[in-house]
């Protein structure tokens, strides 16, 4: 069994049944997890910020950094491995915030909103979501069965 580790601003896809894709320590960042149960192909994106207009050069070099460039690339990469859009199950986790951050540091909230908007615009439903709050999260996807697990700081491992 191989663990494919997804770093900040990174994404990984696989069609290997024995693979597990994992990302550690999502703060305000968000993990987008997709899985096609027919093709048994899945992938994970760990994006940091909502909007690539902040820095076009960086977005070109590392599309996984932003929601608007990372999500399309995640889908395309899975298509290349045989996944189909209509079969892809989407789950998301992350987007935490600092306590009482009403008027600044809204990156967690902004990330959640940006991502929902992208999926809504593209007619993609989000099957499950564990977002917000103020914990950090570790997310795991098993390619063999598409099961997705989230571990929050101070909490147990739960299936998403």
């Amino acid at each position: 069994m191989a663990d494919l580790v997804v770093g900040i601003s990174d994404l990984k896809c696989s069609g290997q049944q024995s693979d597990v894709i994992i990302t550690y320590a999502l703060g305000s960042c968000i993990a987008v997890v997709v899985y096609d149960p027919m093709a048994r192909v899945g992938g994970m994106l760990h994006f940091m910020l909502p909007d690539s207009t902040l820095d076009k050069n960086k977005a070109a070099a590392a599309p996984g950094m932003f929601a608007d460039t990372g999500v399309p690339l995640l889908f395309k990469s899975c298509y290349q491995l045989g996944a189909e859009k209509k079969r892809l199950i989407v789950k998301i986790a992350g987007g935490a915030s600092i306590l009482n951050d009403a008027d600044y540091f809204r990156i967690g909230q902004k990330n959640i909103t940006a991502m929902r908007k992208i999926f809504w615009k593209n007619n993609v439903l989000i099957k499950a979501e564990d977002t917000g709050k103020n914990c950090n999260r570790t997310v795991k996807l098993q390619l063999a069965d598409g099961k997705c697990f989230v571990r929050s700081s101070g909490g147990a491992v739960e299936e998403l």
Partner: protein, 281 residues
């Protein structure tokens, strides 16, 4: 429990004198390279780590640094002090703190130190070695508190999750002291100047004293919050800390500035692999 924690401060090894001696020597404009080399070489543990990190892309030296002599000649004052600080401080990171691995708290500490320099350049157009030291040490209290907090984590999370406590407030309630305060006391035990001590002790409560007084406090508070937000948090407290918007307002930081600083940090962390690697995984 509190008595036991405070007593364990006195069991900590003394802070290596190498840093202070080198800083003193460097104050003299025409310092002698050999004199500095002699001081560093005397401390073998620090020597090995200084050599490891001197070649880090973060310091941007083109020549390959093979000896302490090379390091003193090529790194330049600021970076030399910083390399020695990093090497000396890393020696204390031998337990897990609040995390699952020893390396987690160290990575967080290095990230906050790098971010403190990004912010310092953004706001004052220059770097600041005192700030760097304070940032690297800001969570030193967690090294002593770690064991107690891991044991009491159920009670702490009960307060955080169900009673709207911040992690800091829960520490005070359950353990009797918070990690920032404890860190301040450790800094005092190590005879650090008051501005470093206060920056460590108040890094989650920049609102307590006048922000104009000691800019280190707000800068470390912000650097820490940036890293927590990015998920580089080094332990179970996660993002359960309070935000104080007056600090961002004081520095006139807009959201785009904050996001750009995060991108910069990500880039620098990649260049700073050698700094991260000197602590055991």
């Amino acid at each position: 429990m509190l008595d036991r924690i405070l007593l364990s401060i006195n069991k900590l090894p003394a802070f290596p004198a190498t840093v202070q001696r080198v800083t003193e020597l460097l104050k003299n404009e025409d310092y002698s390279v050999n004199e500095i080399v002699a001081v560093i070489k005397f401390d073998q543990a620090v020597t090995a780590n200084v050599l490891k990190i001197s070649n880090s892309a973060y310091f941007g030296v083109r020549q390959k640094i093979k000896t302490i002599h090379d390091a003193v000649v090529y790194l330049g004052q600021q970076h030399l002090i910083r390399a020695i600080q990093t090497a000396s401080i890393s020696k204390f990171f031998t337990n897990k703190g609040y995390g699952d691995k020893v390396s987690e708290l160290w990575e967080h500490s290095v990230a906050v130190a790098l971010m403190s320099q990004i912010l310092s350049r953004h706001m004052y157009q220059k770097e600041n070695s005192v700030l760097y030291t304070a940032a690297l040490l800001h969570d030193v209290g967690k090294l002593v508190m770690g064991e107690y907090v891991q044991d009491a984590s159920k009670k702490i999370f009960e307060l955080v999750n169900n009673h709207a406590y911040s992690f800091l407030e829960a520490e005070e309630e359950i353990v009797g002291i918070n990690h920032a305060d404890l860190g301040g006391r450790i800094a005092e035990y190590w005879n650090f100047p008051a501005e470093i001590r206060d920056a460590i002790a108040l890094h989650h409560r920049p609102n307590i004293i006048d922000l104009e007084g000691n800019p280190l406090i707000s800068l470390i508070y912000l650097s820490d919050q940036f890293c927590l937000t990015m998920g580089i948090d080094g332990g179970m407290d996660g993002l359960a800390h309070r935000g104080f918007s007056e600090v961002t307002k004081k520095f006139q930081l807009r959201e785009a500035d904050i996001e750009k600083c995060m991108l910069l940090l990500l880039e620098q962390l990649k260049q700073a692999n050698e700094l991260l690697g000197i602590v055991d995984k």
